[in-house]
Symmetry: C2
Subunit: 199 residues, 2 copies
């Protein structure tokens, strides 16, 4: 009996883009249910004493990141462009997915936001850009953007980020199968295998 | 025409163990020359503001490390034990390999040290443990331990660590092919492919 695979991601995270573009197909082929868990890395990094992305705090790591991303995206057949602004605000997109994680379109929207940020260099922190992505998917953009501003939705995203920390998450993407944690796009195969053979 | 693959490693680094145990066979099969470049992560981490291993400075990362290592070692068919002391001093072993990187036994000794640290929980910072590993390989332990204390050897290891930083290295294991940098055991395949198809 397969166990669900939870996908913990941050819309500003480059390696989360690599996972977001392939996880749904892979989970479907493995017969594993996928649960979307957007989080904010800001509070998680702050708890580690970082007031910014580690890719900015540690310049050598930052230089390497974009070289590695270009290679990994190319190997995966994905379009990629280094965003002209990094990290881009992910609050609105994360709230929309939090409020609608079980909707059939949630993964389509998630991919659209990642693609806009990392392949098209679009300002996904802006409500009008998010609204356009929602409209393109045939969704009620205005209603969804309004819903995202509800206190219950804000609280839910905050709680999900706290739940991530409580589970020992320290970066994104991460994957959990039951209590077992996997970190990084490089561990997606391992996490799926664990979900398939769980218990 | 294949380009040499340089392997930058730190004897205290868990993921360097995973690479050390497989890199020689893989390079040989790919027809790629292998160059051993031991370094000390201490000064490299210090330049990033860290006075200890990031796995100790960031506890969540440290907890995850040992879970991930156990899984990755098992998947690679490698014996693994969490060292009772971490990170273990690597100065003597690193100096011996620096002074003898081109000797045919250098990779055998490298593997023996990593195995002692991460599979047998032995105190590889102690000269008598290193001497025993050298003796087991049929080498002149006393002469090699003495050579490691020569100022020229100490300088060479220091220079190699500085060269690593100048190339943008920020962690271990790393691999370089020409000026192209790859970081982490998860990138060894990519680095080898780059070396094979270089130029």
């Amino acid at each position: 009996m397969a166990e669900p695979l939870a996908f913990w991601f941050e819309f500003a995270s480059p390696y989360s883009y690599l996972s977001a573009m392939r996880i749904q197909t892979m989970a479907r082929e493995a017969g594993v249910a996928l649960v979307l868990r957007p989080i904010l890395l800001g509070p998680i990094f702050a708890a580690q004493g970082w007031n910014d992305s580690p890719f900015k705090l540690y310049p050598a790591k930052g230089v390497y990141l974009w070289q590695d991303m270009a290679r990994e995206a190319a190997a995966a057949g994905l379009a990629f462009q280094k965003p002209s602004s990094f990290p881009r605000g992910s609050l609105l997109a994360a709230r929309i997915v939090t409020a609608n994680a079980h909707e059939p379109w949630a993964m389509d929207f998630t991919r659209a936001v990642f693609r806009a940020n990392f392949a098209e260099d679009r300002a996904v922190e802006r409500p009008e850009v998010i609204a356009e992505l929602l409209n393109t998917l045939g969704l009620e953009a205005q209603a969804l953007v309004q819903q995202a501003a509800e206190p219950a939705v804000k609280d839910a995203l905050r709680a999900q980020t706290e739940a991530a920390q409580a589970r020992g998450l320290f970066g994104a993407p991460s994957f959990t199968v039951g209590d077992t944690l996997f970190w990084g796009n490089d561990r997606l195969e391992r996490a799926l295998e664990c979900a398939k053979t769980f218990g």
